[in-house]
């Protein structure tokens, strides 16, 4: 009786299905109650970009080079920078991100020469219109911009001074070396390499 067998087999599969749902009925719920329970965002979580504070200058280090603005596929970054008076280093004067356009690709982070771009940990931005998502990334740094520039200038002056001193020292050393070279060629290498090394390190920083 194929007919009866079909019915019995079908019934068996249906009962198996009901058994599965019953088993799941007995298990605890796996939903997380989102607004009540906070959800930890992962380390790599991508969201609206922010400017990261750099330890050595105690502020962001955006130099307004526009590399991110150029690479952005969504054209949502708007950067401007200018050189503060008497400084060699540029400073960003404007950094706006239209997050409504951003596609979280992370290319701006890749191209940033000073590595000052990072992701924020906010994950629940809301707004009533699109202009609410235009973020001014310089906003948290604006108040301290004056002192920062001062500090930077000082830093730069120090660096410049150090460099100058180094060049002077170098020149002096060269002179001395030249002098010495005439007399003794074997000492030259032992004295000159450390200074060169220092120089290189300072330049990198």
């Amino acid at each position: 009786m194929a007919f009866v067998k079909d019915i019995l087999d079908g019934t068996k599969t249906l009962l198996t299905g009901m058994k599965v749902t019953l088993n799941n009925f007995r298990k605890p719920s796996i939903t997380s109650k989102y607004p009540i329970e906070k959800i930890e965002m992962s380390e790599a979580f991508r969201n609206v970009i922010v400017l990261i504070e750099k330890d050595d200058i105690q502020s962001h280090d955006c130099i307004g080079c526009k590399a991110c603005e150029r690479v952005c596929p969504s054209f949502c970054i708007d950067v401007d920078g200018e050189r503060p008076e008497g400084m060699r280093r540029m400073r960003a004067t404007e950094f706006k991100v239209d997050f409504a356009l951003c596609s979280d690709c992370g290319l701006c982070l890749d191209v940033c020469p000073t590595d000052t771009l990072g992701y924020s940990k906010i994950h629940d931005e809301t707004g009533y219109n699109r202009s609410d998502f235009v973020y001014d990334l310089l906003d948290p740094w604006r108040d301290a911009e004056g002192p920062t520039v001062e500090r930077l200038r000082k830093l730069e002056e120090e660096q410049a001074a150090a460099k100058k001193a180094r060049t002077v020292k170098k020149a002096a050393a060269k002179k001395a070396a030249a002098k010495k070279a005439e007399t003794e060629t074997s000492k030259e290498t032992t004295e000159e390499t450390p200074t060169n090394k220092n120089d290189a390190e300072n330049n990198d920083a």
Binding site: I7, L14, G17, F25, K27, P28, S29, T31, K33
Partner: protein, 324 residues
């Protein structure tokens, strides 16, 4: 014999008014609670939490009711106004009438009809017309397709439904719900007539248009089927009717197969409602487990499986009853 509700009231109209009030109040509360139950049950099966407003999420249903009531009742321009407006009322009215037929306990019954089973089947047939009016009156292809499916499905499943009831009627020797429930002394008929019980619960699921037989409103095919064009409380009426219909068919199954109010220790009405809601939970369990059948398979299932089985069952019952 149970006492008729007319015995409690001197005035005929008072009795009718009281009956309507009781039934309306019960059905409204019941629908709200069933929606809550279904949501919670589905959530547990799917390992979710379900509604969370208020204690156990109960307040959620009140919010939903308020929302349904306060929504604008849109009457589309292209509908057939008479049918469109009459359908939501018409689908709800028979259910109310049917609720009065059930014997809740040995003494609690509104009115004991000698042909209550036939009457119940007869009036529940009016539902089909209401669904058809909704679908045709909406003047929408999805709604029309849903209505066609609903009519065909309901006609087909009425036959196994009736065929599965007849053995019970034969065994109880009565067409009255009270009589049938009363005849089940000791052993409920579900043990004596398991095949009839299975056929009944399947056909009842199909009659109430619930999954896996919900093709008239199959949301993945017909958007919302026959109530596509309804909004607000008019849609709410269809919703109400679906849950109230579940009460009717499960109440009928309780009386026919589970012995109605009978059970040890607890009083009659408690047993009655325990059985009814257990059956409703079973129907909800079906819904959240199975995929939907296709239209022609549904028909084939009714005509090729259920009807022959019910007929064989009927024949066997007849012979056995004759021998005894």
């Amino acid at each position: 014999m149970p006492s008729n509700i007319l015995h409690f009231f001197d005035n005929f109209w008072l009795a009718i008014g009281a009956t309507i009030a009781i039934v309306m109040a019960y059905l409204s509360v019941n629908a709200i609670m069933l929606i809550w139950l279904e949501r919670k049950l589905a959530a547990r099966i799917q390992r979710r939490i379900g509604p969370t407003r208020g204690p156990f999420g109960l307040v959620q249903q009140i919010f939903d009711m308020v929302k349904l009531f306060s929504k604008e009742l849109i009457t589309p321009d292209h509908v057939n106004r008479v049918l469109y407006l009459i359908a939501p009322v018409m689908i709800f009215a028979p259910v109310m009438a049917l609720c009065t037929l059930f014997p809740i306990s040995a003494t609690w019954v509104f009115h004991d009809y000698s042909v209550a089973v036939v009457l119940l089947l007869a009036i529940s047939g009016v539902n089909i017309l209401a669904i058809f009016f909704a679908g045709w009156g909406s003047n929408n292809k999805y709604a029309l397709l849903g209505a066609v499916r609903a009519v065909a499905q309901n006609i087909s499943y009425e036959i196994p439904l009736i065929l599965s009831i007849i053995p019970i009627v034969m065994m109880a020797n009565s067409l009255s719900l009270y009589g049938i429930a009363d005849a089940q002394t000791g052993v409920p008929y579900v043990l004596l007539q398991p095949i009839a019980a299975i056929i009944f619960i399947i056909s009842a699921t199909a009659e109430t248009n619930r999954a896996p037989f919900d093709i008239p409103e199959a949301e993945s095919e017909l958007v919302a089927g026959f109530h596509t064009e309804y909004s607000g409380m008019r849609f709410g009426m269809f919703f109400f009717a679906e849950y109230s219909n579940m009460i009717i068919v499960c109440g009928l199954a309780t009386v026919l197969f589970l012995g109605g109010w009978k059970g040890p220790y607890l009083p009659g009405p408690v047993w009655f409602f325990i059985k009814v809601y257990a059956l409703i939970i079973l129907m909800m369990w079906f819904r959240w487990t199975f995929p939907r059948l296709r239209f022609d398979q549904l028909m084939k299932f009714a005509w090729m499986v259920l009807v022959p089985l019910a007929l064989i069952n009927l024949l066997i019952t007849t012979f056995v009853l004759k021998l005894i």
